[in-house]
């Protein structure tokens, strides 16, 4: 028995001995994503996107001649399984990891990746706290965070509906729902101090029924209702609100609704503010005529039967960042395969482009990403709402300056700041 165990152990231990300096046979990348649980509405499309992108990448010769091999870890299987499997992959020789979707998992994995000295790209999670609280060497974020996402939403709201007086919020009761409201309300207070918050609701995550909240909101009649919810929660809330006429009396601000547009179909009426956690939209006004964009969208639709949503864009950015960093490091080394530290160094100031506009990695490892928002419209071109009056905000001015804390920073913004942020407007 013991001999058996020891033999098994020896076999399992073997891959660790592999040397990282040589050009590997393949570039192993581990990706954490939700394959189960409510957040699989994001995780599964992102996995599908990763497979499409990497298949094409490998067909074109991979990264520096090395094909990329993906393996996925389910974030829905719980924190123990996640950390165990993350480590198993790293110790099994993964060259880069991408984690995670959940902000909570990012908080867990970032310090772990730092200890394990493995490159980790936070490819989707929104919490602004990670780089504000700690310095990381091995951890990068290839997209924006909650602060620019919320700030852009406030700016858009002020541009299209400058005269509103009252606002209510219905957010999911977990870190994202609470944090996003904290940033949103601080920014709103700084930029338009006369707005009154008439109701704050935090129904539990995964709530199946918002009837009572909707009754109360109908009695209050706020001008604007904010909800940063997503997935099934957002769908339910929008459906129930639309059924009961709440969407005719209040303007909804729904910064994650881009990911629900197709599912909501004809339910989402015109005239509500829709965001996409970055410049992510399957009809991206700058990108929709580009060949690579069209090719990917067609491939994605063929594979999944659905239109691409923001996690797909986030995934494309993380993979683009990985490719760009390796190629930069290879170029710097005169064509030779780089050491891990050289790849890490290449991330400094790295610019790359996924399916959206270009993204740049800042000195604190935070990505600078543009933000797209628009107004819902049932144009008849698709069996669901699309966007009009689209604005794409420049990411640089929206992102908390290095070394500052987000809520404090947004609280000190002035109405002049709002006018200074660079924005491009598109009819649709």
């Amino acid at each position: 028995m013991r001999k058996f165990l020891l033999t098994t152990a020896a076999i399992l231990a073997a891959p660790i001995a592999a040397l990282a300096a040589e050009k590997p046979a393949e570039l192993k990348v581990g990706i954490t994503t939700f394959l189960t649980g409510p957040a699989s509405v994001f995780g599964v499309p992102a996995r599908d996107a990763a497979e499409i992108i990497v298949e094409k990448l490998n067909a074109e010769g991979g990264i520096g001649g090395v094909p990329v091999a993906l393996s996925f870890i389910d974030e829905g299987a719980g924190a123990e399984a996640l950390t165990t499997e993350f480590r198993r992959q790293v110790e099994g020789g993964a060259h880069a990891m991408m984690g995670a979707i959940s902000s909570g998992n990012c908080q867990t994995l970032a310090p772990l990746a730092e200890d394990l000295q493995v490159l980790n790209l936070m490819w989707d999670c929104g919490t602004q706290q990670i780089f504000e609280q700690n310095d990381y060497k091995y951890v990068f974020r290839t997209q924006a965070n909650a602060t620019p996402e919320m700030l852009a939403t406030v700016l858009y709201l002020l541009k299209v509906k400058p005269d509103f007086k009252t606002i209510a919020v219905v957010n999911q009761d977990y870190a994202w729902g609470r944090d996003s409201w904290q940033i949103f309300s601080a920014a709103l207070k700084a930029l338009k101090p006369d707005v009154e918050v008439v109701g704050e609701f935090f129904p539990k995550f995964g709530a199946a029924d918002f009837s009572t909240e909707i009754s109360r909101l109908q009695a209050m009649q706020p001008d604007v209702i904010l909800s940063t919810s997503w997935g099934g929660d957002l769908d339910t809330f929008i459906q129930q609100a639309a059924q009961r006429g709440l969407m005719n009396t209040s303007t909804f601000v729904i910064p994650l609704a881009e990911s629900s547009l197709e599912r909501l179909g004809s339910t989402l009426p015109a005239g509500h503010i829709v965001g996409a956690r970055g410049d992510h939209y399957f009809l991206h006004p700058d990108r929709r005529d580009d060949a690579d964009f069209q090719e990917f969208m067609a491939a994605f639709r063929e594979k999944t039967g659905a239109h691409a949503i923001y996690p797909v864009f986030h995934m494309s950015q993380a993979l683009a960042a990985l490719k760009a960093a390796y190629e930069k490091a290879i170029a710097a080394k005169g064509g030779e395969w780089p050491e891990e530290d050289e790849v890490i160094a290449a991330f400094e100031g790295l610019t790359f482009q996924g399916l959206g506009r270009e993204v740049t990695i800042r000195e604190d490892n935070q990505g600078i990403e543009a933000q797209l928002l628009g107004m819902s419209v049932q144009s008849g071109d698709y069996p669901f709402a699309t966007l009009e009056n689209i604005m794409i905000f420049d990411g640089e001015a929206l992102t908390t300056p290095v070394g500052q804390e987000s809520v404090e920073w947004v609280s000190k913004l002035t109405p002049e700041y709002a006018a200074s942020v660079k924005v491009d407007t598109y009819e649709k």
């Binding site: 013991r2 020896a10 399992l12 299987a77």
Partner: protein, 317 residues
Amino acid sequence: MTFRLAIPALLVLAVAAIPFAAPQLQLLMNLALAKGIAVVGVTVLLRAGQVSFGHALYFAIAAYAAAFLSASMPGADLVLVLVVAVAGAVLSGIIVGLFVVRYRGIFFGMLNLAFSMIFWSILEKFYHYTGGADGIRLPRPTVFGMALERGPFELIMFYLSVALVLLLGWFTMRWFASPAGQIFQTIKTNETRLQYLGVSPQRALLSGYILSAALCGTGGVIMGIVQGVVTPEFAWWIRSGEMVFIAVLGGAGSVAGAFVGAVIYETIRTYASAFAGDVWQMVLGGFLLVIILFAPKGVIGIYDAALARLTGKGRSE
């Protein structure tokens, strides 16, 4: 008889060799051991014929106590963290226990469930104190004043867990054999007799309940420290169900079975979610069904039967 002792001893040695022989199994094994300690807590109650569907409560209370302590006292020592966390679990075990020991059977189970779900709701709801669904980080405690890197710290945690498994396992078995433990187990078979003997079954159940809370707490705090983060999921009803599941898987009422069950469960769960991400729950559920239907005495039952056949054969030859 030699088999009976030799095989467990070999298993313990094999586990102790893991950090050197198969380091990538170390974390998995450590989590399994932590869970195993908690499952012993559930096993204790099973000996009295009671099933708690809410013992994740103590698992979570200890973990959160540790996290709050570390947050308010950065660099707190490991021993202090452990002691405070388990004390938290024991204290809440006494308070809740005073209420629930009056009940038996399904009511006992449901009441425990209610307490754990209330605690879970509070953890989720009072975001500004508890971190909500994302939980709070539990930074590495210092060990005798030294701030350790991840590697050595995890090694210490691993051997600490192995030591606690042996110590608490031994203690629990001794307790079962003690007069207090004997009285406690009589609740399952004949509670009325206890009353005739002038012994309070309530008090007997309470002592076992507190022991089980302490064990669950120990498991929870180790889990929290090793993970570096504690979340409300620690108190979620499925976690409680999982503990009962493991207890039955290992062999209801068996202390050794709790650990064997935890190791098997954790291994299946991890590998199923790694290699069959879409169906890991189905794999676990199917496995559970097979065990209950075909080997209701659990892994320990299979082991005992195999051993009996082996020694039986030895005798006939």
